[in-house]
Symmetry: C2
C-alpha cells in the first residue's frame, strides 16, 4: 500500500501528478483538513506537503498526532512554526535553490517591465493611440540600466543586474566576499540605490522592514521590486508612496494577503503585477518536485530529509 501524503495547501492537480505516482495523496485543496477528511484518516497522517508561505502552526500540527514530516514545495518555509515542529520532533524539508534562477528572472522581468513602462508602451501601441499620433505617454525619457544603482536586499540577482552594466549594492546581516558594494543597513542601501530588489528570506525579523521611511529614502526616481514575500513590505505604506509619487514605481510578484492585492494597489498605473509566479517555470517545478520526492522518499524510508530546513 502506498504511503499517504496530505496535501495541506491548494496546489494545481497537474503539479501533483509526479507525487501521485509514488504516494497516495489526500488533497485538501487548501481547505481545513478536518472538513475534508474524517478524523481517523487524519490521525494516521505521517507526512504533509505544504506551500512554505501557508500558515502552519502548533494547533494545525496537532491535528495530525503521527506527523513526522512537513515538506514545503519551494524554497520558503516562513509559514511553518519551526519551534512547534521541533518540539513535536517533526522534520521540515524544502527545495533550496530549486527556483532561484526562475525567481531571479521574474525579478529582472519586473524591474525591466516597470522601469521601461512596458504596460504603458504595450497599451499605447495596442489601443491605436500610437497609430493615431496621440501624444505618447512616455514622451519624457527615463533612466536606463547602464549606471543605474540597484540595491539587492538578499540573494542571487546581482549577476543578472551586472550584465546590464548597472552598479550593484547589497545589504544583508552578513558581509559576503562579493564584487559588489556592501551597505551595513537597509537605510543606507535605500539612500544609494534607485531600484530596491527585495529578495531576502521572509520571517518575523523582516516583517515590514521596507516601510514608509525606506521608501522615502528610495526617492522619487526609485523603484521597489519584491519577489520575496509580501510581508517584507508595509503594503499600506507602499500604496501611499506609489500614490503620492514618493517613489516612481514597483514590480510586485508577492503580496501581504495573497491572492488579495488591495484595490488601491491594483488601481495604480505605475506598478507591474504578477500573481506569485516567480518560481513558476518548467525547470523550476521539475527541480522543486525533485526535492519534494527526495524528502518524502527519505522520510518514509526512515532516513533524514536530504533537503532539510536548518532552523536559525
Amino acid at each position: 500500500m502506498a504511503d499517504k501524503v496530505l496535501i495541506y495547501s491548494r496546489f494545481p492537480k497537474t503539479m501533483m501528478a509526479r507525487f501521485a505516482e509514488r504516494f497516495e495523496l489526500l488533497d485538501t485543496g487548501g481547505r481545513p483538513a478536518r472538513e475534508v477528511f474524517p478524523a481517523e484518516e487524519l490521525a494516521g497522517i505521517r507526512a504533509l506537503l505544504t506551500a512554505g508561505g501557508s500558515p502552519l502552526g502548533a494547533e494545525a500540527m496537532d491535528q495530525f498526532p503521527k506527523l513526522g514530516a512537513i515538506v514545503c514545495y519551494g524554497t520558503g518555509y516562513d509559514g511553518v512554526d519551526l519551534q512547534a515542529a521541533a518540539s513535536r520532533n517533526i522534520a521540515v524539508g524544502h527545495s533550496p535553490g530549486a527556483n532561484a534562477a526562475s525567481v531571479a528572472d521574474i525579478a529582472m522581468t519586473l524591474m525591466l517591465a516597470t522601469t521601461r513602462r512596458i504596460l504603458v508602451a504595450d497599451q499605447y501601441v495596442r489601443s491605436g493611440d500610437w497609430a493615431a499620433s496621440k501624444p505618447s505617454p512616455m514622451m519624457r525619457p527615463q533612466a536606463g540600466m547602464p549606471g543605474r544603482r540597484i540595491g539587492v536586499y538578499g540573494r542571487k540577482i546581482a549577476a543578472r543586474c551586472a550584465a546590464f552594466e548597472s552598479e550593484i549594492g547589497y545589504f544583508s546581516r552578513t558581509r559576503y566576499d562579493l564584487p559588489y558594494q556592501y551597505f551595513p543597513t537597509l537605510e543606507a542601501l535605500a539612500d544609494w540605490c534607485s531600484v530596491l530588489m527585495i529578495a531576502v528570506r521572509a520571517g518575523a525579523e523582516t516583517q515590514h522592514v521596507v516601510n514608509a521611511e525606506i521608501l522615502k529614502r528610495l526617492g522619487v526616481d526609485g523603484y521597489v521590486v519584491n519577489i520575496s514575500r509580501g510581508s517584507v513590505i508595509d503594503e499600506k505604506a507602499l500604496v501611499a508612496a506609489l500614490s503620492d509619487k514618493t517613489i516612481a514605481g514597483a514590480g510586485l510578484d508577492v503580496f501581504e494577503q495573497e491572492p488579495h492585492a488591495p484595490d488601491a494597489l491594483t488601481a495604480l498605473p505605475n506598478v507591474v503585477f504578477a500573481p506569485h509566479i516567480g518560481g513558476h517555470t518548467l525547470e523550476s517545478h521539475v527541480a522543486m518536485q525533485g526535492c519534494v520526492l527526495a524528502n518524502l522518499t527519505a522520510f518514509f524510508e526512515g532516513k533524514p530529509l536530504p533537503y532539510a530546513v536548518r532552523s536559525a
Copy 2:
C-alpha cells in the same frame, strides 16, 4: 548668424532643445519640407537631421541643392539612399553605439515580458481574477531562461542573455571571435533556438529575411523579439504564425509601417508591444545627441563627420 539645420523627420521638441541652443532649426514636424518652408529657404539648407528609418531618397535630396550633410538621430540609417548621397557628395552621419545598451535592454525586457507572460500576469492580478480564485491563465508552467537557447541575429545582446544562464547562438555573415555558437545560416539558427532576437542592421539585404519558413523552423515553443527594424520581418507571415500558433509569441518594438501596427497584430494576446522605444532612455538620448552635435559642428566647420556612416 546661427547655422541652419532642417529637421526632416518628426521629433518631439524636447529632444531638439540641445540643438536649438547651437543651430537655427527649421522644423518640418515630419511634413514635406516644401509644404512648410518657402523654396528659397530650402535652397539654402546645407544640413538636415533625420530619423534613420525615414525614407530619404534622391528626389528628396534634390529639394536641397546645397545639401552637404545628412545627420541621422540614432544608429540606423536604412532610410537614407547612400548611393544617392554619395553621388551628390553629401556626407551621412549617425550615432553608432550610442543607444546600443538601451536597445539591448528593451530586447531583454520584451523577451522576459513575453516568455513570462507579464501582460497576462498583470491583468490576472489587476482585474481581481486572482483574488476571486478564478482559473489562472498561466496554470501550465512555461520554460524559463536557464538552458533556453537564444539565437541572436545581429549585435550585442549576448552578454545579457548569458547572465540568465541561457545558451547563446548567433548568425551573421561574418563569424566573430565570440564565446557563442556560430550558425552559418539563419535557417540553422531558427532550427536550434527558442527565442530569435532580431538585432541585425536593417537594409535591402535583410528585407523580410524572417519569413514564414524561418518562423516555422522556430517552432511552437518559439518566440521572436525584434528591436531592429520592422522591415526585417515579413509582418503578414508573423501575424499568421502568431495567430495559428506556429510560434508561441513575440516581443516587438518595431513595425513595417510605423506607427501603424496592423489591427490583426495588435489584437493578439501573445505579443508584447512597444512603440519603438528601444533607444528611448536618458543616457541613450544624451549620447545620441552628442553624436548629432559633433557631426553638425564638424560639418559647419568644414571638417569630416566624426560619426560618419561607412557605406557597405
